[in-house]
């Protein structure tokens, strides 16, 4: 399929038989509980995340929105004493299935972090390393193409095409973050998780990344955690409000911001707490 920015899409979701109806479910979350030791951090979350939409998770600090996000690509496995119960399925495939390798989950579900974290390598290597490792491409021309495609996909190609061998850490903060996004899409995931991707950036960089997200949702399902309600209102199709480890309210963004059903949601978006 051809995209308006000339971005030629790969064949990664040819296996995906789901017809492109507006509200197909990509991620299905059922009765998700999460414990840090004895402390329960998420209480029985139920949520459907829709294909090729941007879903924003909002809520006050410590409400569990980031924790929830990290459940989807099993980043919480890295936290000692962290225990997850319940079901998360991507196109019906259980993420927490004992027989699958966590590495494979993370190949399907990319993630972008709050702090841009390019590797201490060249821009080219930053992008090429993981696809080469996952055997998505072979070294050489095929790989060069993938790097170019990913950088274009992250709207970074024009800025860096002449300095692919420069270290990724030499870029500006906003460019670094777009490099991280390019890196994430290079492994051809279905879902991209973003954990406050713009909170460390200046307004101009933030705008560029927001525009990028709107481009990306044509191909990817995006889940974003944000502190910034305006941002959620600007870009999200769906919004979920978390509080104290509970999912309080989840609906399309417009409804949630304009006409919240829950008192707590209303208090939060009108700035009474948080």
């Amino acid at each position: 399929m051809t995209m308006e920015n000339g971005f030629i899409h790969t064949t990664f979701n040819d296996r995906d038989e789901t017809p492109e109806i507006a509200e197909s479910i990509k991620i299905e979350v059922k009765n998700l509980d999460l414990f840090y030791g004895d402390k329960q951090a998420l209480n029985s979350i139920n949520m459907d995340i829709y294909t090729k939409k941007i879903t924003a998770l909002i809520g006050p600090s410590g409400c569990g929105k980031s924790t929830f996000l990290r459940c989807i690509n099993r980043m919480n496995d890295l936290v000692p004493n962290c225990r997850v119960e319940g079901f998360i399925g991507i196109d019906g495939h259980d993420v927490y299935d004992k027989d699958i390798d966590v590495v494979a989950v993370r190949k399907r579900v990319g993630m972008v972090f709050q702090q841009p974290n390019p590797f201490p390598k060249s821009i080219y290597e930053n992008i090429a390393y993981a696809p080469l490792m996952h055997d998505i491409v072979k070294k050489g021309k095929e790989c060069d193409e993938l790097v170019e495609r990913s950088l274009k996909g992250a709207n970074l190609w024009e800025e860096v095409k002449d300095k692919l061998r420069d270290p990724g850490t030499a870029l500006s903060g906003g460019q670094q973050q777009r490099l991280c996004i390019a890196r994430a899409i290079a492994v051809e995931p279905d879902v991209i998780l973003m954990d406050e991707p713009t909170s460390a950036l200046d307004p101009i960089s933030t705008e560029k990344i927001e525009n990028l997200m709107l481009d990306l949702k044509k191909n990817y399902t995006i889940v974003i955690v944000t502190h910034n309600m305006q941002q959620a209102a600007r870009i999200a199709d769906y919004t979920a409000f978390f509080h104290m480890g509970n999912l309080i309210e989840y609906s399309d963004a417009k409804t949630l911001f304009v006409n919240p059903k829950e008192k707590k949601t209303e208090d939060y978006i009108t700035g009474r707490f948080g």
């Binding site: 299935d97 390798d101 590495v103 190949k107 055997d135």
Partner: protein, 390 residues
């Protein structure tokens, strides 16, 4: 293959990648196992070769004591016995007799210290003892006249050219005196420097120079401190060579950087709020440091100092340069006497041709390591006990 492709979460080569990861982890574990097993092998080997030195062979034999043998003690034992008795023991006989006048004009059996070759033979080691002497020793052994007794000589005498009469006493005294000098110099100067740099120094170029200089000093080879001791302390200031004073001064300069760095770190860990509270009460900077900051930082300062002193205790190279490997049979009585230290004694014995010194070297090492380990353990205990999270 098809089944796997159908699997949504499938990555080719995942098995190989996981194997490689396991290999890598295995390599890191091997490195640790290597170090730990080296240490164990090392300690066991040392224990095995040093342990026998804590026991020494004594032989029960007839000793004649009269006017004549007090004059010439080598006549006190006869025939074959003379070949197995220690010359050092016989040499010391007259002074023993002086202390025990009742021994005069007697001929009776004493437990006599055997010479080192016989001792090695009894312990089942390589020995130059002749075959007929060996037979004689075996004969005595059957009669129960040969015994391994706890080696008090090793702990109570100084160095000697006669292996069975040599001990670590004088080198231990030398070590203690040297370390006293080191502590008296390094501790106050180190702590004062740390206080100056951490609490009083303005943040200017000169302070930076001092700091950089301290970092470099910490990494200068210890032998160069020996050159300093030789050229400045001995040749310029005229401090007596080989003395605990010059050794201690040299080691003090070597310890200084470590004490300063650890004291600074522990002063830094005292929170600024304590200082601000002091200023709020109208105390001067020095009063705050003396009465509030320093007491809180003391455990950390002590820990660092003990560790650096322990390090100095095992140091040999600079002390060789300032002459502390002199042959010193008697313990030093003043800080300007010639003395030797335990590590230097170990070095000297390790180079001795007689095999009997080998076990004494290892035993000396055991004593040294025991002291060092207990000092370090003490430092760790101190750190744990007073550890405080702000």
């Amino acid at each position: 293959m098809k089944e796997q492709n159908d699997n949504y979460f499938y990555i080719p080569q995942i098995k190989r990648r996981n194997q490689k990861a396991a290999l890598f982890k295995g390599a890191t574990i091997m490195a640790i196992v290597f170090s730990v097993s080296f240490l164990i092998f090392f300690l066991v080997d040392l224990g095995r070769s040093g342990y026998p030195a804590f026991f020494q062979t004594y032989v029960k034999m007839e000793v004649t004591i009269n006017e004549e043998t007090v004059e010439n003690p080598y006549a006190a034992v006869k025939g074959k016995n003379l070949k197995i008795a220690s010359r050092a023991w016989l040499r010391d006989l007259p002074s023993e007799v002086k202390q025990n006048p009742t021994w005069m004009n007697t001929t009776r059996e004493h437990w006599v210290l055997a010479n080192s070759e016989v001792d090695q033979y009894v312990k089942g080691k390589e020995s130059r003892t002749k075959q007929n002497d060996r037979d004689y020793v075996d004969e005595l052994k059957e009669k129960g006249f040969v015994e391994l007794k706890f080696n008090t000589i090793f702990l109570t005498t100084g160095d000697s050219k006669i292996p069975e009469n040599s001990g670590i006493y004088s080198s231990i005294i030398g070590t203690v005196m040297t370390i006293i000098v080191t502590m008296l110099i390094a501790f106050p100067i180190g702590v004062m420097t740390a206080i100056y740099l951490e609490e009083f120094a303005p943040d200017n170029r000169w302070t930076q120079i001092i700091e950089v200089n301290i970092n470099n000093l910490a990494a200068i080879p210890s032998i160069l401190f020996g050159l300093l001791g030789l050229a400045i302390f001995i040749n310029f200031f005229g401090v007596p060579r080989s003395s605990p004073l010059v050794g201690g001064m040299t080691l003090a300069l070597m310890c200084l950087p470590v004490i300063i760095v650890s004291s600074k770190a522990s002063l830094k860990s005292v929170p600024a709020s304590i200082r601000q509270a002091g200023f709020g009460l109208g105390l001067t900077k020095w009063q705050i440091v003396r009465d509030h900051v320093l007491p809180l930082a003391m455990p950390g300062i002590m820990t660092g100092s003990i560790i650096s002193i322990a390090h100095a205790l095992g140091e040999t190279a600079p002390l060789i340069i300032v002459g502390m490997i002199a042959f010193v049979p008697d313990a030093a009585t003043s800080f300007t006497d010639a003395a030797t230290v335990l590590p230097a004694q170990i070095f000297t014995w390790a180079g001795m041709p007689e095999k009997a010194y080998l076990e004494r070297t290892a035993a000396g090492i055991i004593v040294l390591l025991a002291v060092l380990l207990s000092m370090n353990a003490g430092a760790v205990y101190l750190r744990k006990k007073f550890e405080r999270k702000w």
